[in-house]
């Protein structure tokens, strides 16, 4: 996990007594985060390790604004994440780069549209398709906007692989 600004400078992350409990389908409570306090200095890269089910993903999801903790405080830079409303949290997520455990590609979209998806509903001051093609080229993905199924979707994440996340503003 690392937090960087668009200019490469870092943002500090501060978690204070963050807790999160899930309920299983049977209603059994599962404590994923229990009073987690963590300080990540600006520009610092932190790796979180632990056995499956120890709360690594939950930690990243609450810092990434994709889930709300039951209690506690999370600050990224000057922003208090836990007090944001739904719309503000979506705007926050829009500024965050997140590497998921699985690809979560949208099968109905082309590979190019999958790259474009995060900015589709937004008005931006750059050429969306051109930028998406540049990004695909940068990571050596075939730019073929006509193919809905491409080699990317054929890859699989090995079971038990580590979860890496990077937040970029």
């Amino acid at each position: 996990m690392s937090i960087t600004n668009g200019d490469g400078s870092g943002l500090p992350v501060s978690l204070s007594e963050v807790s999160k409990t899930y309920r299983t389908g049977l209603g059994t409570p599962v404590c994923a985060l229990d009073d987690v306090t963590l300080e990540v200095a600006a520009g610092q890269i932190v790796a979180v390790s632990g056995p499956s089910g120890s709360g690594k993903s939950t930690l990243l999801y609450v810092v990434g604004g994709m889930d709300r903790p039951d209690r506690g405080s999370i600050r990224v830079g000057e922003q208090e994440i836990t007090s944001l409303g739904d719309t503000q949290r979506a705007a926050y997520r829009h500024q965050v780069g997140f590497v998921f455990q699985r690809f979560h590609l949208l099968p109905a979209l082309t590979s190019l549209d999958n790259v474009l998806a995060p900015v589709m509903p937004y008005r931006v001051d750059f050429d969306k398709a051109g930028r998406a093609r540049d990004l695909q080229t940068a990571v050596a993905l075939p730019v073929n906007s006509l193919h809905k199924r491409d080699p990317v979707s054929g890859c699989a994440t090995p079971p038990g692989s580590s979860h890496t996340g990077q937040l970029t503003w």
């Binding site: 994709m66 719309t87 979506a90 965050v96 998921f100 949208l106 995060p118 589709m120």
Partner: protein, 121 residues
Amino acid sequence: MSGEVRGVDYLSAVLALGLGVAWVANVLYLNLRERGPELAALAATGWQRRHLNRMALYAGAGIGLLGSLAGGVAGVALAWALGGALLALLAAALAAIGGGVALTLVASWAASPRHPGRGVR
């Protein structure tokens, strides 16, 4: 055979309309629920609920509008041929379209993910 429209006919039309609209909304809701992980992935990248709702609305309204128009035209033509009151039938057709679009919004709102982290695990 009398061409007069009775109160019970209006009641039947309203009930049929209500069932049709509820059925469309239910199908759309289930369709959106099935696509929950995809919607969650979009929400995780910053799509707001209004963006997801708009997407669902376009899809639902398009399908609902086509179906409502086809059914409405056929229903009005049939009723007209049988001597029904045109104004009331047109109102029923418009209500079908409006109700379908409104319930599409409700269904998409209910199905859109509030916590995308749970959908992308």
